[in-house]
């Protein structure tokens, strides 16, 4: 594993430290002994084949999954030792764009984004309205505020999911396949959105993707899950140079010739 722990574009301070993490569901091992730091302000891509455990890994970062063994530290605190209140504070530092958007289908688009505000802030109705519309404008969906979520297309659902993820001003944004299933143009719009969020809001980003084009475009470092382990970790530059077999064949399969 030729890994780099000193990305040049970001701070040296690890925000999240993953230590010897292993996860099994019953008898099925997903991956084992994952060690990884996420630095403040960087954009880390997590790549790997479908079913290799990318979503499961990322859901350990805010304790949506509990590991079989190992720790995840945030600011030096093991998040699996926290009680519910402590965990809530950690969780609210994250915003997540889920793979299918995970919009609440019983309420409208507007209410989906307003939901965290209603539950966790004491904002007035006008403040909520302003903040929601601002978030919707950021994802260019202000016109869809009153539509039911069932009427939205896949790309729109992802953008609404993104608006909901940023509404409480998180420090870390996790994107689970933000561009999968979208046409190249919409994908590019989402990539630009991710870049602009990370630049304008100085957000630390963790992006799960199969799409090498967007990985190379938006990320500082790449983590490659393969063969039930974190097979390769390094910067985008190192990825381009890498002679690692499985990594190269994964990248080549996405029709992105490196040579």
């Amino acid at each position: 594993m030729d890994s780099s722990r000193t990305p040049d574009t970001t701070s040296q301070e690890p925000l999240i430290t993953v230590r010897d993490l292993s996860k099994s569901f019953g008898p099925n091992l997903v991956w084992k002994d994952v060690n990884l730091d996420v630095y403040k302000g960087e954009t880390l891509a997590v790549i790997g084949r479908s079913g290799c455990g990318k979503s499961v890994l990322v859901k350990h970062f805010n304790a949506l999954h509990k590991p079989t063994t190992g720790d995840v530290l945030m600011d030096g605190v093991n998040i699996f030792d926290l009680d519910y209140v402590g965990l809530r504070q950690i969780r609210q530092r994250f915003g997540i764009l889920f793979q299918g958007g995970a919009l609440f289908d019983s309420i409208s688009t507007f209410e989906n984004i307003a939901f965290p505000l209603r539950v966790f802030t004491s904002d007035t109705e006008t403040e909520i309205r302003d903040r929601v519309m601002q978030a919707l404008e950021r994802v260019s969906l202000a016109h869809a505020a009153d539509r039911s979520t069932a009427e939205l297309s896949g790309g729109m659902r992802k953008r609404v999911g993104l608006a909901r993820a940023i509404i409480l001003n998180p420090e870390v944004l996790m994107y689970d396949e933000p561009t999968s299933g979208l046409d190249p143009q919409t994908s590019d719009e989402i990539n630009d959105l991710i870049l602009s969020l990370s630049e304008t809001l100085h957000i630390t980003s963790i992006v799960i993707s199969h799409d090498m084009h967007s990985v190379l475009k938006i990320s500082d470092r790449v983590a490659f899950l393969h063969d039930q382990a974190l097979h390769w970790l390094g910067t985008v530059e190192q990825l381009k140079q890498s002679q690692d077999g499985p990594l190269r064949s994964f990248v080549r399969a996405s029709e992105y010739a490196l040579t």
């Binding site: 969780r91 609440f104 289908d105 965290p116």
Partner: protein
């Protein structure tokens, strides 16, 4: 097999324990409780009226048929119908019907939320999803089922009485006389206790099956089927246990 059964009871118990603990966080589920009152209680009234009327009607016709040749006062038909409805049928039959309606709805709702990561989304915001989703449903079930039992019993008695009159088997005053003769308030209380237990069984099993659903749309379908089948089974088991304990 033994492992999975054990595992299931463990998970079910854990969910109940978490629900009990988070039932103190009333601010989290307050907003969903009223909605569940409406969905479990109010929206079940039509089906309960229908079930009630037919149960009462069938009881009168069949009791009259069974006692047809016996040399006893016909008002005894009223007594038998009333007691059967109050002690057993109004609680059990309406709960079996509601296992289909309420149980399937809850399991599908929570199952869909689970597989489309909506539950993860709630948790990731720092919300206690058990308190938000499970507690209001179980609570509304336990509070609404006894009310529905009373509705079912009242329509059942009305249906039984009207059937007696309309089919010329039993005049209304005879039915009333028989009903009064063997009416014990304890029977109504017993029926209400049963329906509280059945309400708990249906909502808790359906929440459990939905909350832990896996495997996409097909998995949700399986969870829903299991939720209704298990609810019906455990209603019958609980009916037996309660009868042995309380009668």
């Amino acid at each position: 097999m033994r492992f999975t059964l054990f595992h299931e009871f463990g998970l079910y118990g854990t969910l109940l324990y978490q629900s009990l603990r988070s039932s103190l966080e009333s601010t989290t589920y307050r907003m969903n409780l009223f909605q569940e009152f409406v969905k479990i209680g109010y929206e079940s009234i039509p089906i309960i009226l229908l079930t009630g009327v037919f149960t009462g009607a069938v009881m009168t016709i069949q009791t009259a048929y069974q006692l047809g040749n016996a040399f006893i006062a016909s008002s005894i038909i009223g007594s038998i119908v009333t007691q059967s409805l109050l002690i057993e049928l109004s609680a059990v039959i309406s709960s079996l019907v509601l296992a289909g309606k309420v149980g399937a709805r809850i399991a599908t709702e929570l199952g869909t939320m689970r597989v489309s990561e909506q539950i993860d989304a709630l948790e990731s915001m720092g919300l206690n999803s058990v308190s938000f989703l499970v507690v209001p449903r179980i609570l509304a079930g336990m509070l609404m089922f006894p009310v529905l039992y009373v509705v079912a019993a009242a329509t059942g008695l009305t249906g039984g009485l009207l059937t007696g009159v309309l089919t010329d088997t039993l005049p209304a005053f005879e039915f009333m006389k028989g009903a009064r003769l063997f009416f014990f308030p304890w029977d109504v209380l017993f029926g209400m206790i049963k329906s509280i237990v059945f309400g708990f069984i249906i909502t808790s099993i359906s929440c459990y099956k939905g909350y832990y659903a896996t495997g996409g749309a097909e998995g949700v379908g399986q969870s829903t089927t299991q939720a209704t089948v298990l609810s019906c089974m455990y209603i019958l088991v609980a009916d037996f246990v309660l009868a042995s304990l309380l009668l």
